[in-house]
């Protein structure tokens, strides 16, 4: 064995040996089976911190703001939640966020799936490279910059309108409205969805599709009965990511919405910063968290427990 040759062991072996000795010294012997779990600690710590933050928010949300001192009152009350339900604006804004999340998720998945499919199936290395670059390039450009990019393209004197007016038509109202926000969000979410769908599509052997075809299915039938069902885990995963990211988005409605297409995140921001009401802001955050979590749970329930690869029996 390599150990007999002194100093002949690769550096990585020696490093691991050292770590093992350290663990052996610091850890009761009986617990050595748990060593692997040590690597979970940072993740657990992060989640724990998040839970603490959420705990604080729940606490804040239960106190009303005192306008005389701009501090939360000592007494517990449900005033902030009452405000949420009594002011139609919050329900409306939440509904608008949910609707946008649903629309954006749908459009993004419909656009992302063929993209991922083509990227996996293309036999041309050049095409795949182009698709990959086109996919990753936007990742290097932040959401805010991209939103401003849309202003340049869609503005009253923007690229598109200069073409429209160039052929003698009146300029179009393309930004500062709900569709503009949806458009910006779809563009922002597309790479996420493609990245999440690609492994799912890649896992479907090309033979499976040929088999379906030879068994009598047109390509539409193959897509409906074989490709989509087999890619379901990826589709659900991508859907959940896009849905939650959209539901909680701030920048697109802020920049492309012209101030009148706010999402719930903008309302939370306004509560925290514009009117300095940390209690109301926390209450809105809690409501958003609850609604978002409930919907994700619902999606997973409808899609089935095995969707994300859990509880799937493997031979």
């Amino acid at each position: 064995m390599a150990e007999t040759a002194a100093g002949g062991k690769p550096l990585s072996w020696r490093l691991i040996d050292g770590v093992d000795r350290l663990v052996a010294a610091a850890w009761p012997r009986g617990l050595h089976g748990m060593n692997g779990y040590l690597f979970l600690l940072p993740a657990v710590a992060l989640v724990f911190i998040l839970v603490i933050g959420l705990g604080y928010m729940v606490e804040f949300s239960l106190h009303e703001l005192d306008l005389a001192t701009y501090r939360l009152k000592e007494a517990y009350s449900l005033t902030n939640y009452q405000t949420f339900f009594e002011r139609p604006v919050y329900i409306r804004v939440l509904w608008r966020s949910l609707l946008a999340a649903a629309i954006v998720t749908l459009i993004t998945l419909v656009l992302a799936f063929p993209y991922a499919y083509l990227m996996v199936r293309t036999t041309s290395a050049a095409t795949r490279k182009f698709l990959l670059v086109a996919l990753f390039l936007p990742f290097f450009i932040g959401q805010v910059v991209r939103a401003y990019g849309w202003l340049i393209i869609l503005g009253k004197e923007g690229l598109l309108n200069s073409i429209v007016t160039g052929i003698g038509l009146p300029p179009l109202d393309l930004i500062y409205n709900y569709p503009a926000v949806i458009l910006g969000l779809v563009q922002y979410m597309l790479p996420f969805a493609v990245l999440l769908l690609t492994p799912a599509v890649a896992a479907i052997g090309e033979d499976i599709e040929l088999a379906s075809e030879s068994l009598g299915a047109t390509w539409i039938g193959t897509f409906r009965h074989v490709v989509i069902p087999m890619a379901k885990p990826g589709i659900i995963g991508a859907g959940i990511v896009v849905f939650t990211l959209t539901l909680t988005d701030f920048a697109m409605p802020e920049i492309l919405g012209g101030g009148t297409s706010d999402f719930i995140a903008n309302a939370i921001y306004d509560s925290y910063f514009q009117i300095s009401n940390i209690g109301l802001g926390s209450a809105l955050s809690i409501v958003l968290t609850l609604v978002g979590s409930a919907l994700v749970a619902l999606m997973l329930m409808i899609a089935g427990t095995g969707t994300l690869g859990f509880a799937e029996r493997k031979s």
Binding site: L67, A68, T69, Y70, R71, R87, P88, V89, R92, V93, R96, L151, G155, K156, E157, G158, D173, Y176, N177, G258, G259, T260, D262, A267, D270, Y272, F273, Q274, I275, S276, N277, I278
Partner: protein
């Protein structure tokens, strides 16, 4: 950069903070020449608004102050709404606040004063000689110093108004301007005006805001754009809007950039308001000392003249001439007659009601 750099600054800071607490509020800086209470900090951080605003503060106050004292001044462009909770949290938790001087709207500054996070500025030199609007109202002492007043004017694109400037704010409701009207995203500067334009009067404020809300509802039909200072300039520049309620400084900055923008005070009037400077609690004694010197400098004749003429706003230092382009401009009130055309809401009313107005505004506009 600074000749005051001290490798032990952190330790000293902590020590000074302890000693400042020990000596308490009575430890007047003037009597502490000998020790660290007047030691120059390596820099002063002043929160400011960007664009034309920041440039004017830099040239009118910060640069001359650095020249006079050797202390570099750094402008921090964190949003006013975002710095507020940071300062509040720092004071609550006994940490050193992130900035030395906050340049703030009088309403927000007063809210911070109510929260108890401001240092009293009553001992500043030169307060006595200022116009009366320099002193905050509805609150004891000098938790802040107002430094100039400004007007939320009716800015417009002359090309869209070939028959001359708009005479009434109600022109915003004209379907002709659908999607081409802009307000601040919280409605600030327009709340009292909306009441009057909606058929109410000053006496309705703050108890009967309904005419104003009705005006908002009508305006909502016209799909207004909502934004912040920088947005207005961009929108005028890109031809996105024809008419806006914005601070005259933004309109003037756009005009100075060569954008075709004019402004006027319609018959319902315009809201006049003030901005001020304040210092958060919890600074080391020497930093607080020099922060006070900074504000003291900002209300000298020299600084007021330069700063306010760059902004194009009437200073709190009396007797200064307006910039040539603003002489006789209704957005630059000097004579009592000018002020009669403007609408001023007392600070305490604003502090108490502005959050409600903001909420109502967003409720209507987000519909």
């Amino acid at each position: 950069m600074s000749d005051n750099r001290d490798p032990f600054r952190l330790n000293r800071r902590r020590f000074l903070k302890g000693s400042a607490l020990a000596t308490g509020a009575l430890a007047l800086p003037q009597f502490a020449f000998a020790d660290g209470h007047t030691k120059k900090p390596s820099e002063l951080i002043v929160r400011a608004w960007g664009g034309a605003w920041g440039e004017s503060l830099q040239a009118g106050v910060a640069d001359p102050f650095t020249e006079a004292t050797g202390i570099p001044v750094r402008l921090d462009f964190t949003e006013d709404n975002e710095i507020k909770p940071k300062i509040w949290a720092a004071v609550d938790q006994g940490r050193v606040p992130p900035i030395h001087v906050n340049w703030d709207t009088t309403t927000n500054a007063t809210i911070s004063a109510l929260r108890g996070v401001t240092v009293d500025l009553g001992d500043l030199k030169g307060l006595d000689g200022l116009l009366s609007i320099a002193k905050p109202t509805g609150i004891d002492g000098w938790p802040l110093v107002n430094t100039y007043s400004y007007v939320y004017v009716c800015a417009y694109r002359p090309e869209a108004f070939p028959d001359g400037p708009p005479e009434s704010w109600r022109v915003m409701l004209d379907p002709k301007f659908k999607g081409r009207v802009a307000l601040y995203d919280d409605g600030i500067g327009f709340n009292p005006i909306a009441v009057i334009a909606g058929g109410g009067s000053m006496s309705d404020i703050p108890d009967n805001m309904e005419p104003g809300y009705q005006f908002y509802r009508d305006l909502k039909e016209n799909e207004p754009l909502l934004g912040e200072d920088a947005d207005f300039t961009t929108w005028f520049q890109n031809g996105e809007i024809d008419i806006a309620c914005t601070i005259s400084v933004n309109a003037r900055a756009a005009k100075q950039k060569g954008i075709n923008v004019e402004w006027t005070v319609p018959k319902e009037g315009c809201k006049v308001d003030t901005d001020g400077l304040w210092i958060p609690k919890g600074l080391p004694a020497n930093e607080e000392y020099w922060s006070k010197r900074f504000i003291e400098f900002a209300i000298t004749r020299e600084a007021q003249e330069k700063w306010c003429s760059l902004l194009g706003l009437p200073p709190v230092y009396p007797g200064l001439e307006p910039p040539a382009d603003l002489a006789g401009d209704p957005a630059y009130p000097t004579a009592p007659a000018d002020f009669e055309k403007l609408v001023s809401v007392p600070s305490p009313v604003l502090v108490e009601n502005q959050p409600i107005w903001f909420s109502k505004f967003s409720e209507i506009m987000q519909g």
